[in-house]
Symmetry: C2
Amino acid sequence: MAQKPSIPKGTRDFSPSEVAKRQYIISIIKSNFEKFGFQPIETPSFENSETLMGKYGEEGDRLIFKILNSGDYLAKANDSALANKESNKLTSSISEKALRYDLTVPFARYVVQHQNDIEFPFKRYQIQPVWRADRPQKGRFREFYQCDADVVGSKSLWQEVELIQLYDAVFTDLGLNGVTIKINNRKILSGIAEVIGASDKLIDFTVALDKLDKIGEDSVKTEMLEKGISEVAIQKVQPLFNFTGTISEKIQKLSTLLASSSEGMKGIEELKFIFEAISELELSKANLDLDVTLARGLNYYTGAIFEVASPKEVSMGSIGGGGRYDDLTGIFGLKDMSGVGISFGLDRIYLVIEELNLFPETVTSTSKALFVNYGEKEAFYAMKAIKKLRELGINVELYPDAVKVGKQFMYADKRAIKYAVIVGETEMNDGKFALKNLVSGEQVSLNFEELKNTLINN
Amino acid sequence: MAQKPSIPKGTRDFSPSEVAKRQYIISIIKSNFEKFGFQPIETPSFENSETLMGKYGEEGDRLIFKILNSGDYLAKANDSALANKESNKLTSSISEKALRYDLTVPFARYVVQHQNDIEFPFKRYQIQPVWRADRPQKGRFREFYQCDADVVGSKSLWQEVELIQLYDAVFTDLGLNGVTIKINNRKILSGIAEVIGASDKLIDFTVALDKLDKIGEDSVKTEMLEKGISEVAIQKVQPLFNFTGTISEKIQKLSTLLASSSEGMKGIEELKFIFEAISELELSKANLDLDVTLARGLNYYTGAIFEVASPKEVSMGSIGGGGRYDDLTGIFGLKDMSGVGISFGLDRIYLVIEELNLFPETVTSTSKALFVNYGEKEAFYAMKAIKKLRELGINVELYPDAVKVGKQFMYADKRAIKYAVIVGETEMNDGKFALKNLVSGEQVSLNFEELKNTLINN
């Protein structure tokens, strides 16, 4: 019953070196989350379907992986849906659980469910896989990790300031220069729509504006006209089409444009606080910029909107994003819980670091030395040393079989193990170990102390 | 549309302190896996159904969570199964993927699929969740982690020796004294059945023998008789019913009993090698014992069988297990790949460590200090210090809102944060920080250097 084994499309196996590189990124994100006072939680991989369905729009509902009920699931099936082969109508009667689609909705559910045990403001982080039945394509998978940090229960703008610092700290630790943290504010977008008399067309307007980079000013204006935004209105926002300068200059331009909109001016106030704080506290490696075209899940965010662009020399799109949402937990019945959070795009960050060759050479953990196996007596001698080395925290291993030495060296080579320790009759009689550097070919005879010190220091 | 939120039965939310404690155990397991030369891999959460189905017996197939196909899944449904409402027959036509049930089958699939990229012997570890539609009960969940280390591609008994050392190393690092690693060998069980002329009743025999601890000698004998094992045969294995003494004595007894069975004697040879090696190399904290009643998934293992019993003062059953299986990858078409591996039971280990109060106090990472928020100017002053402290790797946070100090102290208390840093007009003028120990109530005025040093050293 031999099968040619494969894995479902859109999923991945991770080899030892891939796991090590992913863990390297995750551990930097994690330690910075904790440095900023965030605490980890974990939620189940699947949730009750009603927790997830209807939270991500129609498209989202379609992309949620549903889990078939166990046992005789057809016993409770919707009979008319069954008879008419209506998949959509049948689903809820044969599937009660679904794989989580993101970490935000499960987090909201967690906060509401455990509200009596939580001390607010609650700063939580969560690094877990999510699943989406998306069409797989380059860089888009059906199983992927999200790395989220959110605060709920405080409207303080210091959170926005800290989240920008957090982005900066992570990318600095990763050695990634030239990352740009772009920020906008939903209130500014609302204000713009208001002053041009197109509040009812806020989404059409921002969707078009968002394309400025890609399709250019003329095409954006054409699209706006097509969507029913008047020529006069478009004229009013002319400054947005050439929105350059320093952040202060941009804020100045916006203040003029939005003078008549109290909501717009509120957004500007918020931006100003954040920019002034960041400019006084300073970022290490990242740049901060105001991008009025930035919209992201507009209906979701109510205040600040973040997006992180990878360094210019890599064409990768955004490697992180987030924002403030004033009613995170309302869907589960807990009102007035403002939240703000950011997310790191693990897969894309991995690709950027790989492309720029920024993974440290030591990231792939492998054994420091392979003890060559010459037979039972020699192996015993080796195992005594191995035991002591491991107790000192040094990763070493014995080749399990007494096969040809060439084969054992080849194994060490493929595993990128730098040293071989050779123990033969002579070494055993002298209480020594022959340490061979497999890169340089150099070989020295050492006692245990010397062996230990060499392995610790190399 | 408020819903009372809940999670599916058999699943769990993990709070910050629970995540921290689980991570503590996992990190000790992981670092020891690497110390022994094992490398991490990860496989997708769901596999193609044909990879999993039929690998765990009928019961296993039933307990595998199946994922409903996306889109109009009924279009390809088995019509007769649909018409007759035959759930079992329908499943394969509406579900192509399933959540992994353990880590062993996906590992076998991985080895076969990537055999050309793998250098054998392949020592891999894998720490990931698995899912089973089991009836939830105390200590049994529908989503739980497995922590597995396996070697494939070598029949060397040094692996068995190392796996015993690995168990010892992990439980020693966890501070768990009095763990017993029980070992048996499938060949010894076969040999016993052979010498009593009950080879065809091997499973009945071992299942009955396995109950010796619980139901006693007489009941075991009754069960054996009921299963058709003769009085004469039972008489022959009388030594097994009072199988005490040192390991050498036990091996001596077995050698007499199994003298006529070449397979049995092979099993004794293997055991002897392992015991002699371990007795020469010595274990730190764990005990090793020979338990001839130990069977575990008998049809699976072909050589050594391991099981780890928790310390006697805790009634928890086994906290780990494993063994050697000579044909791990045969199901996927790659023959002659002997494997041997062990597993750690994370949930039970957690409960044992909790019960014995062995989690270090520092395991729950929390901020070292909370900076009290008195308003914008003070917060700015605080944030400058916070930034520098974080750059030095110290976890600190600012309370985000300038609310009543009592509320801020209560937050620190609930979060188990030991220090509050208070910055008012006086401190700002003097370039100082008031550091209050929230446990002792003691308060001192420090400059930044002193603050930094106090937080690092406490």
